[in-house]
C-alpha cells in the first residue's frame, strides 16, 4: 500500500477499522478530538457504529456493554477524561473483556492544559481504577506505530481477554508522518462464544458477564486467576522481547538513555549527537509499558555504567527503571512538564553533567 501523510490520531482510527473494530464510543476532548471526528466519518461507511456519549463515564460503559456482546470496540480520550473512565476500566478488567482505550495524554493535574505530557504513566501502568488488576499498556513513538500498535492491541486484547491501553501524547496525536496502512484483519464476533447474545447451536448455557464475586473464596479465586493471566502476559513479552522493547546502540553503551513515546525519538537524536562527541550512549525504548521490560534493564545494569531516564513528567517511569536496575548502577532523571517537550540540547546537557561531573 502507498504511503499516506496522516495525523497520528487519524492513523490510529483508520488502523482500528482495519483491525475489524466497528464500534466507537467517546466524548470530545483536546488533543484527541481528531480521532472521534475521523471515526464519526469512517465508521458509517463500513456499517460501523459511532456514538458520541454524554460523558467519558458513559462512553467506557458503552464499551463495556459492546465488549461483553463480542464487539471489537474502542474508546479514546485525554488525561482528565481517562480519569473519568477508570471506573469502567476496572469493571472491564474484572469481567475480563477485550477492548482498546486510547489516552492521548495532556498536562495535569486537574484541568492542567492541552499540551503534550507523559504524566499519566502511573495511572496507566498501576491500574488506574480500583482493585487488583492490570491493563496492557502500549507506547507508540511514530504515526506508523500509532497504526501498527492499534492492530496489535486488538489482537492482544482478544488473546488475553484484557483491556489494552494505548498511551500516546499530544505530539503523536497531532503529528503527521507518512504511514503505510497495515493489511486488514478479518474479525467475526461470533468467534467469542462467551459473548452475550451469542446464539450459536453449540451454546449450552446462558452467558454471563460480571465482575461481582461476593464470597471471599470466590473473589480470591478470581483475583488469583487474573494474577495468573498477568503472569502469562508478562511471560509472553519476555519471550517476545522485540515486541516489548527497542534497544539502540546499547551493546557498548556506557550511558543508557531511557524514554518512551515521543521522548524516545528525541533521545535517538541525542544518542547520535553523543556518539559524534565520543560519548558511548545508547537508548532503551519500552514499547510496552506494562508489563515493563525489567529484564532488559537488569541485563544492561551489568554492562552500562549509568542510566538517564527522560520523561515529560517529574519522574514516573523512572521508578520502574530503578526497580529493574536494583541499585546496581545510578539512575538519573530529567523531566519537563506543562507541555514543554525537552529539546535534544537540554538532554545533551544532562548527559554531559552525568558523564563529566565537575
Amino acid at each position: 500500500m502507498a504511503k499516506v501523510l496522516m495525523k497520528g490520531n487519524e492513523a490510529l482510527g483508520e488502523a482500528a477499522i482495519l483491525a475489524g473494530c466497528r464500534y466507537y464510543f467517546g466524548y470530545p476532548i483536546t488533543p484527541q478530538s481528531e480521532l472521534p471526528a475521523y471515526l464519526a466519518k469512517r465508521l458509517p461507511q463500513v456499517d460501523g457504529v459511532f456514538v458520541q456519549a454524554e460523558s467519558e463515564v458513559s462512553a467506557i460503559n458503552m464499551v463495556y456493554g459492546a465488549a461483553s456482546a463480542g464487539a471489537r470496540v474502542m474508546t479514546s480520550s485525554s488525561s482528565p477524561g481517562i480519569s473519568l473512565k477508570q471506573e469502567g476500566i476496572s469493571y472491564i478488567a474484572g469481567a475480563e473483556l477485550p477492548c482498546l482505550i486510547v489516552n492521548v495524554m495532556r498536562g495535569g493535574p486537574g484541568l492542567g492544559n492541552i499540551n503534550p505530557s507523559q504524566s499519566d504513566y502511573w495511572q496507566a501502568t498501576r491500574g488506574g481504577g480500583h482493585g487488583d488488576y492490570r491493563t496492557l499498556v502500549m507506547a507508540p513513538n511514530s504515526v506508523q506505530e500509532m497504526a501498527d500498535f492499534t492492530l496489535a492491541a486488538f489482537e492482544y486484547a482478544d488473546r488475553f481477554r484484557n483491556p489494552v491501553l494505548m498511551l500516546s501524547d499530544g505530539v503523536l496525536g497531532q503529528m503527521m508522518e507518512p504511514v503505510v496502512m497495515p493489511a486488514p484483519k478479518d474479525y467475526d464476533m461470533d468467534s467469542k462464544k462467551w459473548s452475550l447474545g451469542y446464539t450459536g447451536k453449540d451454546k449450552t448455557a446462558r452467558n454471563l458477564c460480571t465482575s461481582i464475586f461476593m464470597g471471599q473464596e470466590e473473589l480470591e479465586e478470581h483475583n488469583w486467576s487474573l494474577y495468573q493471566k498477568y503472569q502469562v502476559i508478562t511471560d509472553f513479552f519476555k519471550a517476545n522481547k522485540d515486541l516489548a522493547v527497542e534497544e539502540y546502540l546499547c551493546d557498548d553503551a556506557e550511558v543508557v538513555l531511557v524514554g518512551y513515546g515521543i521522548i524516545s525519538r528525541i533521545l535517538k537524536t541525542v544518542v547520535e549527537k553523543c556518539r559524534k562527541r565520543g560519548i558511548k550512549a545508547g537508548l532503551v525504548r519500552p514499547k510496552v509499558l506494562w508489563p515493563f521490560p525489567s529484564d532488559v534493564f537488569a541485563k544492561l545494569a551489568d554492562k552500562a555504567s549509568k542510566f538517564l531516564v527522560v520523561e515529560m513528567s517529574y519522574g514516573q517511569m523512572v521508578e520502574d527503571v530503578k526497580l529493574a536496575v536494583e541499585g546496581k548502577k545510578p539512575v538519573y532523571f530529567f523531566g519537563r512538564t506543562g507541555g514543554a517537550v525537552p529539546s535534544d540540547f537540554e538532554i545533551l546537557n544532562e548527559v554531559d553533567k552525568i558523564v563529566r561531573p565537575d
Partner: protein
C-alpha cells in the same frame, strides 16, 4: 389434574435473596413471563444494576451483564448497538437510575436507544441499608434523613417518568405499580408492551414500577402496600405519559 399455573422457564430455580414481601420477585416474574410469551427469551440480554437487584442475573435463564452503579443504560446501549436483534433491558432501582445514573438514563432515552428500562421506584436505597433516594418522599425518615426529608435542603422527590416523557425520542413511558393483583396484571401488560415495541424496533421504552421496601420502610408487606397506595401514589401518579405508537390501544 389440569395445570392452571406454572413457573416460566425463563426464571431460574434459584431461590431469591430478596427480603420477605419484596416486590422484586413479582416484577422478575412479570418480565420473565413477558419474554417467554413474546418468544424472545433465547435472544434476550438483561443488564443488572447495583442495588438490591445486583444479582438479578441469578434469577433469569438468559444472558446477563452486571453493570456499574447507574451505568446500565450505557452498558445496554453498547450491547444493543452490537447485537441489534437482541432484546435488551435494564433493571434499575431509584438510587441507581435517578441519582448516580441520571445522565445515562436521560441520554439513552434521548438517543431513542431501542432498549427497555424497568425502573423500580421504592423511594429508598435498599442494599446499603435504607438511605435517602432522589424519590424519597418529603418528611420521610431514612438513615441519611433521620429528621425526615427536608425539601428546603434535600429537594423533593424526582418524577423520572414525567422527565423522560418531555423528551422527543422515547416511544413509551408509563408508571405502574404492583400493590394488588389488578395492578400486577396492568404492570405485566406494560412490560409486554415495552418489549413488543422493542421487538418491532420502535424505540426506547420505560416502565416505572412503584414498589415497596418493607424492610427499610420498617413495615409489614401488607402495611407497606397500603402505605404505598396512600403516600407514594399521590406523589407518583400512575398512568402512561407517552405512547407514540399507540401500543396500549393496539
Amino acid at each position: 389434574m389440569k395445570q392452571v399455573f406454572g413457573k416460566t422457564n425463563v426464571l431460574s430455580a434459584n431461590p431469591t435473596h430478596y427480603c420477605p414481601g419484596c416486590d422484586h420477585g413479582v416484577v422478575h416474574r412479570l418480565i420473565a413471563e413477558s419474554l417467554e410469551e413474546l418468544e424472545v427469551a433465547d435472544r434476550s440480554i438483561g443488564v443488572a444494576p447495583v442495588g438490591c437487584s445486583v444479582f438479578a442475573y441469578d434469577y433469569f435463564n438468559i444472558d446477563f451483564n452486571q453493570a456499574a452503579h447507574g451505568r446500565a443504560p450505557a452498558v445496554a446501549t453498547g450491547i444493543k448497538r452490537t447485537r441489534p436483534d437482541s432484546i435488551v433491558f435494564t433493571y434499575q432501582g431509584d438510587g441507581d437510575l435517578a441519582a448516580i445514573g441520571t445522565a445515562e438514563i436521560i441520554h439513552a432515552a434521548n438517543r431513542g436507544e431501542n432498549i427497555t428500562v424497568v425502573f423500580i421506584n421504592n423511594g429508598i436505597y435498599g442494599m446499603t441499608g435504607g438511605q435517602m433516594a432522589p424519590t424519597t418522599l418529603v418528611g420521610m425518615k431514612t438513615q441519611t434523613s433521620p429528621y425526615g426529608r427536608d425539601a428546603a435542603t434535600m429537594g423533593s422527590p424526582i418524577r423520572v417518568s414525567e422527565i423522560i416523557a418531555t423528551l422527543e425520542s422515547p416511544a413509551y413511558v408509563t408508571r405502574v405499580t404492583v400493590n394488588n393483583i389488578a395492578n400486577q396484571i396492568k404492570t405485566k401488560k406494560a412490560i409486554k408492551n415495552a418489549f413488543t415495541l422493542q421487538k418491532e424496533k420502535k424505540g426506547f421504552s420505560f416502565v416505572e414500577i412503584v414498589c415497596i421496601c418493607p424492610t427499610n420502610w420498617g413495615k409489614k408487606p401488607t402495611d407497606a402496600h397500603k402505605w404505598l397506595t396512600e403516600n407514594m401514589l399521590p406523589v407518583f401518579p400512575l398512568g402512561t405519559f407517552k405512547d407514540i405508537h399507540g401500543i396500549e390501544k393496539a
